[in-house]
Point group: C2
Chain length 426, copies 2
C-alpha cells in the first residue's frame, strides 16, 4: 500500500471524483491507527455526505471495515443461519419475537445487536429489564447457544468491524450520521462480519423513522441489499411504515410484555403481521418451508423464547414492573384520530427515562408509554389516549410535555395504511 495524503483524499472526494481502492484502504487504516486525525476523517465524512460513494468505493470501504476486525465462522452450525436488522422505529420490539419464532421453525438466528441511542430504543435495553438476563456473551457462548437453542440476542462483540465503533462515535458528534453509504457500510460491515448466511433488512420509513421519504428508503435498501449480495449474504429488504408507533407499548419492560403477548398468539395485529412477514422472508431465504403462524399458535415459539432468555441467565416468567409515577393523557374532545406521531411518542418515552442521551447513560426499565389509540380510531372527549410511566415526577413531567400534541383529532375518516410497503430484492 503506497503512501497517500489525507488532504488529497478529502479534496478528491469533495470535488466529486472517486477514490481508488488503495486510497480508501490507506485512509481507513490510517484513521484506525491514529495517523489520520479525527478532524480529517470528519471532513471526509461530510464530503461523502454531499458527494456520496460509488458502488465500487462503497464495497471497498465496507471491505476495509470488515477486515479491521474478526469474522465469525458460523459454518459449523447444523442449521442455516439468517438474521434481521431494523433501521430503528418507535415501539420496534420485533427482534424479541422474531428470533425465537424463526428458530422454532428450524433456522439459527444470530442477533448480535447494538445499544439504543436517541428516540428509538435498543433491543438489548429492552431485554435487560428481565431480571438476571445478560447481554454480553463470548463468541463461543453465542455460537454454542445458536447450536443448542437456535437463537441468540446478545451484544455485538467489540471484535466485529471495530473501526465502525470509532467512525460511528465521530459521525455522531459531527452531523454525518445521515449518509446512505455511511449508514449502509456501518450496518452491513457488522452483519457480514457476524457470519450470517442470509439477512432481512427492515427499512423503516415515515415520521417516526430517521428516513422520512420512500425514495430515500428505497435508495438505502437497495444499497444495503447490493452490499450484502456482493459479500455472499442472501439479502432482502422490506420497507415498512413508521408513522405511528409499532404496537401499543413503547419503552423497555413494557415492550417485553407486549412481545410475550405476541409470542403467546395474542398482541397487537400490526406487530404480529410484521413479525410474520419478516419471518416468512427469512425462512424463504434459507429454504425452510414452515408456516411461522403454526409456531405462534402451538406455543413452540414462546417455549423457545423462554429457553433463549434462560440460557442468558434471565427469568422469562418474572413479573416486570412499570414505573411507579404515572399519568394518563386524555382526548380534549370527540373526533377521529388523524395521526399518532411516532416521533413525538418516541421522544416522550426517551424523556420518561427509557432512552439515553449518551452511550454511558443508564436507562430505566419501567419508563415508557402505552398507546391506547391508533390512526382511524373514534375517540370521545376525556377518553385516555396514552398512559405514561416513569420512575420519578421530574421524568414524568418531561415526558408529558413532549407527548401532548402527539395525537391529532379531526373529522375525516382515515384509511388504515398497511405496515408492509414493498420488498426490495436487488
Amino acid at each position: 500500500m503506497s503512501t497517500h495524503s489525507a488532504v488529497d483524499i478529502i479534496t478528491t472526494k469533495r470535488d466529486g471524483a472517486a477514490l481508488s481502492d488503495d486510497a480508501i484502504e490507506w485512509m481507513l487504516d490510517s484513521y484506525g491507527g491514529g495517523a489520520v486525525a479525527d478532524e480529517q476523517m470528519s471532513a471526509l465524512l461530510m464530503a461523502i455526505y454531499f458527494q456520496g460513494l460509488t458502488p465500487r468505493e462503497l464495497a471497498r470501504w465496507t471491505d476495509v471495515m470488515i477486515a479491521s476486525g474478526e469474522r465469525l465462522d458460523l459454518s459449523r452450525l447444523s442449521r442455516p443461519t439468517v438474521d434481521k436488522h431494523s433501521t430503528g422505529g418507535v415501539g420496534d420490539k420485533i427482534s424479541l419475537i422474531l428470533a425465537p419464532l424463526v428458530a422454532a421453525c428450524g433456522a439459527a438466528v444470530p442477533q448480535l445487536s447494538g445499544r439504543g441511542l436517541g428516540h428509538t430504543g435498543g433491543t438489548l435495553d429492552k431485554l435487560e429489564s428481565i431480571p438476571g438476563w445478560r447481554a454480553h456473551l463470548s463468541n463461543d457462548e453465542a455460537i454454542d447457544q445458536l447450536e443448542s437453542i437456535g437463537a441468540v440476542i446478545c451484544a455485538a462483540g467489540t471484535g466485529l468491524a471495530p473501526i465502525d465503533r470509532k467512525l460511528y462515535a465521530l459521525r455522531d458528534v459531527t452531523g454525518t450520521v445521515e449518509s446512505i453509504p455511511l449508514i449502509s457500510s456501518s450496518i452491513m460491515s457488522k452483519k457480514i462480519a457476524e457470519g450470517t448466511q442470509a439477512l432481512v433488512l427492515d427499512v423503516k420509513v415515515g415520521r417516526g423513522a430517521f428516513i422520512k421519504t420512500l425514495s430515500r428508503a428505497r435508495e438505502l435498501a437497495s444499497t444495503m441489499v447490493g452490499l450484502g449480495r456482493s459479500h455472499g449474504v442472501a439479502t432482502v429488504a422490506q420497507l415498512t411504515a413508521m408513522n405511528q408507533p409499532l404496537g401499543r407499548a413503547v419503552g423497555n419492560a413494557i415492550e417485553v410484555v407486549e412481545s410475550v403477548d405476541v409470542l403467546r398468539g395474542d398482541g397487537p395485529a400490526d406487530v404480529r403481521e410484521l413479525t410474520l412477514a419478516l419471518a416468512r422472508t427469512m425462512l424463504e431465504l434459507v429454504g425452510i418451508d414452515v408456516d411461522p403462524v403454526t409456531k405462534l399458535d402451538d406455543g413452540s415459539a414462546y417455549e423457545l423464547y423462554c429457553r433463549m432468555i434462560e440460557a442468558q441467565g434471565g427469568d422469562p416468567t418474572a413479573p416486570l414492573a412499570l414505573g411507579s409515577h404515572r399519568h394518563v393523557v386524555t382526548a380534549a374532545h370527540d373526533g377521529i384520530v388523524q395521526s399518532v406521531d411516532a416521533l413525538g411518542v418516541g421522544v416522550a418515552a426517551w424523556r420518561l427515562g427509557a432512552g439515553r442521551a449518551r452511550k454511558e447513560d443508564p436507562v430505566s426499565a419501567g419508563a415508557g408509554v402505552m398507546c391506547l389509540v391508533r390512526e382511524g380510531d373514534f375517540v370521545v372527549a376525556h377518553q385516555p389516549l396514552f398512559e405514561l410511566y416513569a420512575d420519578d415526577d421530574e421524568h414524568l413531567e418531561r415526558g408529558r410535555a413532549s407527548i401532548e400534541n402527539a395525537v391529532r383529532l379531526g373529522d375525516q375518516s382515515t384509511d388504515v395504511e398497511s405496515i408492509l410497503i414493498e420488498r426490495i430484492s436487488s
Copy 2:
C-alpha cells in the same frame, strides 16, 4: 448568549439553512475556547464549503473573528491609511514597491503580512533576504513607523483575529481552504482588525493563482468588498491576470532586486503597470491627488523604501547573493512562446528552496528562478528560457524537474493579455 449544540449547528448548515447570529457566535467562541472540538469545526467548515454562507452569516462570522482579538487604532495618525492585499501570485513582489510608493504620495500604508505557504511566496520571506531586516515589530513600533515614515511591512501580530490562526491551520489539513466565504472572512477579519481606513484587493485569476476562473474571482472579490464596506473600510478589488509569472524574478532575494529596479524607475513593464494601477486606486480611495509615476521618476519612492528598510534594521544597499548552484534551461527548438506556466515556475522556485512546505520550515534567500521570456516572445533553439538558483545540487535538481515543460513553444503569434482585468467596487 444561550447554549447551542454543535451537532445542531453543523446539521443546520449541512441541510442548507442559515445559522442565527447567536449560533455563529457560540460556535466560534466555543471553538476558540476548546468546547467545540476540531472534528466538529472541520465538519462545519466542509458543510460551509458546500452550502456557503449568506451575507448576514458571513458578516457575523467575520465580526466574531475580529472580536476574538485586538483591533488597532490608527486614527491618531496624521495621514489617511490605506492597505493592499493580494490573494497570491507567482512573482508577486508588488507590496515591496507599492507600500513605499503610496507612502511617498502622502498616505500611510500599514502592511501587516503573513508568511508564504505553498507555491506563492510571502512578502516577509522576501524582505528577510535583506541582512539585518526584522519582520517582528510591536504594535506601537509599527504605528510609530507609520507616522514617521508612512509605510511599514511587518508580521501581523498574533493579537489580530487570533481565531483565524486556529481556523486556518484546521482548514489547511482538512481540505477546506478553497471556500469563498472562509477565504473572505480570513482575509478581511485581519485587515479590518488592522484598522486601515481603505483597502485595495488584488484578486489573482488564472493558471498560477488559486482562483482559476473569472466567475469565481468575481464572486470572491465582491464578497470581500461587501465585507469591507459593511465594516466601514473603503474597499475596491482589482482582478488581475496570473497565467504567467509577474515580472521576471521568482524567489526571495531575486524579487527584492527586481523590486528595487522598479522603485528606481526601471524593471519589468508588467510589474510597473500593476503597481501604478493599484497605487492610483489606493490614493483615490483616500482622496490624495498625486500621480504616483512622479514618485518613481524623482527617486522619492526609492528613498522612502530605504528609510522603511533601515527603520527595521535592514541595509537596503547590501548586495544580495543568489544561490551558488545554477542551471540554465534552454529552448529545444525555434518558436513563439505560447505560454509560460506560472504554476510550474512557482512550484520550481518552491522546490529550489524559496518556499516552505510547513510553517516551521526555513526558506532559502538565494533560491529562485529568473524568467527570461514572456508569452508572445520569439525564441530560437538553445536560447535560455530560465535561470535557476539553489543552495545545493539536490534542490537544483528538484527545481529543474518541475520547470522543464513550463514554456510551451508553437507557431501561433499570441495576443499579449492585459494584466488588469477589471475593477470591482461593489
